[in-house]
Symmetry: C2
């Protein structure tokens, strides 16, 4: 038994290592930690979202003994319904996480087939050959857990997303004592969150947001509209608490905000008197100074409520002068443009807009550099595998570890799919398994690949031109020509251009051609490029009539 | 004369007010300040760049008495060659600015027709009815000027981009004394830079970069590759100075970097011994520890040298282990994704990458909050018109002004195209003139509008499907059907889908239709959407054969 290898495989991050899924494998048994979704980069055109490539676990579905979801954020839990199409093992999570997952599975109507096992931080559960200590971590959602995963090959500590908040909203600090205990038991390896490895100092406590909210509430005269993530349950609690002090009622708005607040309330993670919360309809009929509306759209997504408010396309209510809008979130990298555009548009419509640059209305849920060093000192792992971050963050995490005395050989910077093996207490990097992530577009999972994305990019750069040529079926002479375009050039400007293209194509039909379609294509590409310096996608169709 | 109005019209910014151009009009004479270009937002697909709408000045071309360019950055000077196609008046700028503009005009081969007049900070020039005091401002390019524009209607101070750097690289601080003199003469209005109105404190001196560079150079063993803007002449000087101390030669790489360094050297704005600079060919043949390569691409642009190095597509040289890459710039909002992707890829290729998050290798060229307050105290204007910023920044600028005692009625938050009128010392907001900005795509100026962009967006979301139906010309019965697609779904996945679509289209042809094209279109849209939840662009062509 002692001779068996423990394998760890980080999977699924889009440029971020092990962000969304990690596989632990021992004695032919597999434990999956997290199954999250990713949002596409700006150049992944038309993609709805991205999930990890489940191929490795699909092929070993009968070896999977359990799935643990560390917390309820989408980047750790959002692909779980896709995973459960392939894997049949129980899910072990804290009650709030399970509650939100269950709701998600229900929507895809296979909740009944899935076993969800509630665990609580502080418990130890044997899952196959893995003896897992669940310990509490602070994060921007309640009920986050980190894991001590013990096998005969050694004890591995897996933090999930964490910070060391001394004054968390729910009063439960990260479990320093368990981390120290891992150290005394001897931690073979630590896999930990690198998100803020570039950020000096210590991440502020969630508590500072209350001061920020208090200042905003004190100044607001009209309605207060607060946009945040629907999964930020602790933010909901803070808004409820502050609103109470200012004698304002709170209305949750939008499907996911309503659902999540309901589940969190039922499970005891949101605490408020029933009279403190009203429906949106009631809120809209109340005096403006008496209400707070909590909405989604903190990333400026045009289809979210905040996005629609900014664009003036929200049906139920609109921004009016005197509204105070609070964006209680940071823009996720890549979303800055959308967020700040929404801010400007809301201001144009007369709202006061408060956002994290100008007021303490959001703090990060991830540990900064000093916290990362504290974690390393508490756990004293033999090996460090920085995860949850782009390569640039993993490198900074490594640098921090070396600053506090770790040796370069004790730290593995790996890419997704790299198998990390532990045997006799030694770490070795193994093979790299194929597959990274899979695009989800509409109902299609994996039917859009890089080629399709590339075509979409080309189509979007300069549009399309369609050339339909009709030739006489008897003698091949020219009969008719139709030129259409979309996204290429405005109608008025195109006339002269297409008239000349027409003349050139017709001229071409009079001389013999080996491959007329190809020749028309080339002619059109070079003529249009010469005249406009653009390269539209050109479709040529030749029909004999 | 005293009764005449002074009009000021901020123009051209893309979401930013008066960023790229401002029109001053008095007694039917027009002075234009700056003519810059903007970079497109991520959703302005396929657009190369954006220029202000020159319609207002085109229609009054004979009234234009002069153009002033405050400094040589693209967002203030990059549209000058487009402007000079419509306007025939002299350009007044500092020597370096004029040198770089001249080079730009030469490339479009109409430099000869344009009169460039060198002015120096400290000089006063009468341009038509406008008596202009040019004063020195610190910014991240040498030779930046601010303007005191005097007319019988009053004195207006226009800062351009500025910061109050106490230890600037070229030893020339911003002209505090002139600003104070404006105050004693009585400044009617101040138009000033709002870029950093959200940033507390005081922008660090350009000097801190030298410390950052020194630390980087001390640690680097191999080549040092520094990416920055080609217009950041003072950064070039800093690199040359630090490189000299470490006995490294500098090679400028890329067209604009070479051109700009040559011009700056000729005009005395770059100072170095000839032996300090080598060609890229020479640099590549030297020991790695002896060279610095200065390249473009600090925004991660895939076609720039740094972009090509990151993607492994640069011809002349590639990244090798041991290279240190310094990104000496902040990502411009919207470019974060591209920049950090380049950072990660350079790291994957073995480079150490140093960027502004982890080392002092860039500082902003714009004043922060305390500097903006200092400016207001120095100038003591009757009216403030915050410019150079998005609405959210202008609002913060206004808040700062109110904090130091200005009244709300003294501050105008305006949008581009709003005419601000001054008469008898009073400010009044006038009409809004149409036009904001114009897209440039390839050689086309203004032939791509929002509709085209929208079509490109649609094309890019889910691709295109082409349906070519052939019917018998005698009886209209079905003869043939061709279905093609691009960017929609992968080939393997499309077969079944298109087979079924085929069946449905053929079935439709058997029943009489009022508008068969429309019906096929609708059928295809709804069938494909139902099956894939996607909405490709569908072109239907029906031919009778």
């Amino acid at each position: 038994m002692k001779d068996k290898k423990l394998k760890i495989i980080p999977l699924g991050g889009l440029g971020e290592v092990g962000k969304n899924m990690t596989v632990y494998e021992y004695d032919n048994k597999i434990l999956i930690v997290d199954a999250g979704m990713m949002f596409p980069d700006n150049d992944m055109i038309g993609i709805d979202y991205i999930i990890p490539d489940f191929d490795y676990v699909k092929q070993r579905a009968d070896q999977v003994v359990g799935i643990i979801v560390t917390h309820a954020h989408e980047d750790h839990s959002g692909a779980i319904s896709h995973l459960m199409e392939h894997v049949h093992a129980p899910i072990y999570s804290a009650p709030l996480t399970n509650g939100l997952i269950k709701n998600k599975l229900n929507r895809r109507s296979f909740a009944k087939e899935v076993t969800l096992i509630d665990i609580h931080a502080g418990e130890t559960v044997q899952i196959g050959p893995f003896k897992v200590d669940f310990f509490h971590v602070c994060h921007s959602v309640p009920d986050g857990v980190g894991l001590g995963i013990d096998t005969p090959a050694g004890l591995v500590v897996h933090t999930g997303d964490y910070k060391f908040d001394h004054t968390p909203v729910d009063g439960r600090p990260t479990d320093y004592w368990k981390l120290a205990e891992f150290s005394s038991r001897g931690a073979l390896a630590l896999l930990s969150d690198s998100t803020n490895a570039e950020v000096p100092g210590w991440t502020p406590s969630e508590r500072v947001i209350e001061d920020g909210f208090n200042r905003v509430f004190r100044q607001a005269r009209g309605r207060i509209i607060i946009a945040t993530f629907a999964s930020l349950i602790s933010r909901m609690q803070q808004v409820l608490d502050v609103a109470k002090g200012f004698d304002r009622k709170v209305a949750f708005t939008g499907f996911s905000m309503l659902e999540n607040s309901r589940i969190a309330k039922e499970l005891g993670y949101l605490q408020y008197a029933e009279s403190q919360v009203v429906s949106i309809e009631t809120a809209l009929s109340m005096p403006e100074s008496k209400v707070v509306l909590m909405v989604t759209g903190s990333q400026g997504e045009p289809t979210s409520i905040l996005g629609r408010l900014a664009n003036g396309t929200n049906r139920q209510f609109s921004i009016q002068a005197g509204d105070t809008v609070v964006i209680s979130a940071h823009p996720i990298p890549g979303n800055e443009e959308a967020v700040y555009r929404a801010v400007n548009r809301l201001m144009e419509k007369g709202a006061d807009v408060v956002y994290s640059e100008i007021e303490d209305v959001h703090v990060s849920g991830h540990a900064s550099q000093e916290e990362m060093k504290l974690l390393l000192h508490l756990v004293r792992p033999r090996y460090l595998i920085p995860i949850h971050g782009e390569l640039r963050m993993l490198r900074q995490h490594k640098r921090l570890a070396m600053e506090i005395g770790m040796d370069e050989r004790q730290i593995a910077l790996v890419e997704n799919g790299r198998v990390i093996e532990f045997k006799h207490g030694e770490m070795k990097l193994g093979e790299r398994i194929p597959g990274g992530y899979v695009f989800v577009d509409g109902t299609g999972v994996g039917d859009v690949d890089r080629t399709i994305i590339r075509d979409r990019e080309l189509l979007s750069q300069d549009g399309v031109v369609l050339i339909n040529l009709f030739l006489d079926k008897n003698n091949g002479t020219f009969k008719d020509l139709e030129i259409l375009s979309r996204g290429f050039i405005s109608q008025e400007e195109s006339k002269e251009l297409f008239d000349e293209l027409r003349t050139r194509v017709i001229r071409l039909t009079t001389s013999p051609a080996k491959n007329m379609q190809k020749e028309i294509q080339n002619l059109s590409i070079s003529y249009l490029n010469e005249e406009t310096k653009r390269r539209p996608f050109i479709f040529v169709s030749i029909t004999k009539v």
